[in-house]
């Protein structure tokens, strides 16, 4: 009897949580196809329309923000990879003075209050002309992308046995050659996954662009607040804009699902 009760309890919890988790997504998709007139009077039965998508795409500001978010996030991840891959490799393979201190300093970026860095940068950026620029955002986004790339890749590099590299050296590879031709291909799935996850995090960032960017380099997350600034809130338009900005992330996340645990825990849990 108690077994049946326990099983029933589990099913109820599962259903309740699934509704809690999925309903807002369902609501977002549904409303993105609803006219403003239908928003408050109908639930699932309504006349679907593409007007919201037309309005969102027709308004150049959202498309501009979408393009900017893409460019800034991609550039930020590219810089983080160029800088982070060698750093992660050094932290995994060499023993040297201050190794753990450097590793923890990079990790601490992830746990520093964003505003604490963003506000002094705001003053600096105003002086040197980086305020509201792509370069300025790419620079500050290293705080998001770099700790992730370094810590996750460090754990992947540690997973490659040293014998593999030694064998490559015996085969006549230089240290750089062994790294490039042997080690890097071995960790490629992890490399791709952490790069994509870093991209998602950059794409989602709100505080840095709120403080450090303006009309010149609008980002989707900050731009979306404007849906609430007028007297009439267009539910449908906000929902379609939200869906457009979330869809690429859903696809990327499902592609790298196997690596998500290691990525999200910054390599501390192997998953």
């Amino acid at each position: 009897m108690s077994k049946v009760l326990a099983a029933g309890f589990r099913v109820v919890v599962l259903i309740v949580y699934t509704l809690f988790s999925v309903f807002p997504l369902f609501y977002m998709i549904l409303n993105s196809f609803k006219s403003d007139a239908d928003t408050f009077t109908t639930f699932v039965v309504f006349r679907p329309t593409l007007d919201n998508y037309r309005a969102v795409f027709g308004d150049g500001t959202f498309v501009h923000a979408l393009g900017n978010t893409l460019v800034v996030s991609a550039l930020a991840v590219a810089v983080a990879l160029v800088v982070g891959v060698p750093t992660a490799y050094a932290l995994a393979r060499f023993t040297f003075k201050g190794r753990e201190d450097i590793a923890f300093t990079i990790l601490s970026f992830r746990f520093a209050p964003g505003l604490l860095i963003a506000m002094p940068l705001y003053v600096i950026y105003q002086h040197i002309g980086l305020f509201d620029s792509v370069l300025g955002l790419v620079w500050v986004y290293q705080l998001i992308a770099l700790p992730l790339i370094v810590w996750v890749l460090r754990s992947y590099f540690e997973g490659v046995s040293i014998e593999v590299e030694q064998a490559a050296h015996v085969d006549g590879y230089t240290r750089l050659g062994a790294f490039w031709k042997i080690v890097l291909p071995l960790i490629r799935p992890g490399l791709v996954a952490s790069a994509l996850l870093a991209f998602i995090f950059c794409w989602n960032e709100f505080t840095f662009p709120l403080v450090l960017a303006g009309a010149n380099v609008p980002m989707v997350t900050v731009q979306s607040l404007n849906f609430f600034s007028s007297n009439v809130i267009h539910y449908g338009q906000l929902c379609s804009a939200a869906l457009i900005s979330a869809l690429p992330e859903f696809i990327l996340a499902l592609l790298i699902q196997r690596h998500l645990v290691r990525g999200l825990s910054l390599g501390t849990i192997k998953g």
Binding site: N31, A90, R93, F96, L115, L116, L121, W203, N204, C239
Partner: protein, 312 residues
């Protein structure tokens, strides 16, 4: 091990050990040079933040004067600061506790399931990938006190005009729900991975002995999961203590000062009143708080891993 390794050059000629060693010492630093450069570039504004918190830096006046600890003294005299500490801690503790309890429960349920677990997991990670800013705006629509779908849903149960974020009494609940919606999947995902990595033997033994669910959970699952639970707590508590986005996008700290946690108070002082000095003092104190909590948790985590290593 590596020292021996690099002594063999491409042609197989052994290079004298002593000479090679000196240059070897610099290799890791050279490899990391770009990374260190960015690290320094990021540490610079951080150091500047600490210095600026000792000044009266403000966009209201063109001159900047060093004022020592005045901003910190003012801060500890201000009732709004103590209120913001209360909001900050309450938000962090409530979200972390809620997300851990629900997340662990859901992970246990998914762990028992077979092929459907993967399907549910794929579904559950989606909210985690939505930007917290966008997620909050979506919830703002759904919890609109007049038109929101959740408000109308509560109508069915006889709860009319539920005020959500518009009332100081229910505002915290509203933002906690958004935080939970986004971050419970994080707990589920990591705890589920932890459950899968546990050794099956003790659980098999408990099952044969007829141990109840609670007995197994408290005596086996929970102790074995402890290192992973600490990591999850660390991540959630750190994010909760400095949560700016969800509160800002929902009410920017309102109604009144109901949701004014330290980051939002600092933002208001910095960009509404344009007084950067006091604002940075708030943030430096927040950083100290975050630093202490994280150090304690990491120390605890290390101790447990040591114990486990000894136990093996």
């Amino acid at each position: 091990m590596e020292d021996i390794q690099v002594n063999v050059s491409q042609e197989g000629v052994t290079i004298p050990r002593a000479r090679k060693k000196i240059s070897d010492k610099w290799i890791p630093y050279l490899v990391m040079a770009p990374g260190l450069l960015i690290t320094i570039g990021v540490l610079y504004p951080f150091v500047l933040a600490i210095y600026d918190s000792l000044t009266d830096l403000s966009f209201n006046s063109p001159t900047v004067a060093f004022v020592g600890l005045q901003n910190y003294v003012d801060m500890f005299r201000s009732p709004s600061f103590f209120h913001s500490i209360y909001v900050t801690v309450a938000y962090a503790v409530i979200t972390t506790a809620l997300e851990l309890i629900v997340g662990v429960a859901m992970a246990l349920i998914l762990h028992r399931m077979t092929w459907t677990a993967h399907l549910f997991q794929s579904l559950f990670i989606l909210p985690l990938m939505v930007s917290t800013a966008i997620a909050t705006l979506l919830w703002r629509l759904m919890t609109n006190p007049t038109y929101g779908i959740y408000t109308r849903f509560l109508d069915i149960f006889g709860i009319h005009h539920f005020p959500w974020a518009n009332s100081p009494r229910t505002a915290l609940l509203t933002v906690v729900l958004v935080d939970a919606w986004v971050y419970i999947p994080f707990v589920i995902l990591i705890v589920l991975a932890g459950l899968k990595s546990l050794p099956p033997a003790p659980f098999e033994a408990a099952r044969i002995d007829g141990g109840s669910f609670w007995f197994t959970f408290r005596r086996l699952t929970l102790p074995l999961l402890r290192p992973i639970l600490i990591i999850v707590t660390l991540f959630r508590l750190m994010d909760g203590l400095q949560q700016f986005t969800i509160i800002y996008a929902m009410t920017a700290g309102g109604p009144g000062d109901a949701l004014m946690n330290i980051p939002n108070l600092a933002y208001e002082h910095g960009f509404l009143y344009l007084t950067f000095g006091p604002s940075l003092a708030y943030l430096v104190l927040l950083w100290v708080l975050v630093f202490i909590v994280s150090r304690l948790l990491v120390a605890y985590w290390n101790r447990i891993r040591m114990q486990e290593a000894e136990g093996e």
